[in-house]
Symmetry: C2
Subunit: 120 residues, 2 copies
């Protein structure tokens, strides 16, 4: 049901109530929906996506990534934090250097499907 305000009047309209009910029943839990959206949003930045693509070929340290992206290490570090928080990457420390890698195969899969879509 939807409220419409036009020139002071208030009407109510809804074309396919049954279809809406069906969608309501099949809807994802808010938490799942928002989690997925956050995942997509995280992958939806050109620099972060470059990072993910590069890590697809093997682990890299922060300063390598900064060099690759022509970006500051600080900016890359902020991006990597987001990627870590969304569980897209993880790291291992070797002395003072942190090596980052992709966290699981879902990332690969997502990127390749998106690439197919984009190439059409």
């Amino acid at each position: 049901m939807i409220i419409i305000k036009t020139r002071g009047e208030t009407r109510v309209r809804c074309i396919h109530q049954d279809r809406i009910e069906k969608s309501r029943l099949g809807a994802l839990a808010t938490e799942e929906n928002n989690g997925m959206a956050a995942l997509f949003k995280t992958m939806g930045d050109p620099n972060r996506l470059k990072i993910l693509w590069a890590l697809g070929e093997g682990e890299m340290c922060v300063c390598d990534l900064a060099a690759l992206l022509n970006s500051s290490e600080s900016a890359v570090s902020h991006q990597l934090r987001l990627l870590r928080q969304m569980a897209l990457v993880s790291n291992r420390r070797q002395g003072p250097v942190l090596y980052y890698r992709l966290n699981d195969d879902h990332i690969h899969a997502l990127i390749h499907i998106a690439l197919e879509h984009t190439r059409e």
Copy 2:
């Protein structure tokens, strides 16, 4: 190669030059990278993702979607425009009503992989 400015000094540093070269060679074209990022970004909004999920069960008109999302028709219309521009949805007109549907199966696939990742 990366320029570091600290206390007025300027140094140059690069830990794994060969690894960076490898990534440079394997890198996506900027256009492809940005296209994919735009696709993910488009899917990375909770409301748009709800729309896509709902359309997964069949076509819906704008006012149904607005009712489902508890959102204004104008807001939904703006979102649908983005989804159209990214070729995620298309529509057919029946009289004054526009029915929207998912554009292809990539969307389904992306959503389901993302859901798996999120549920872990």
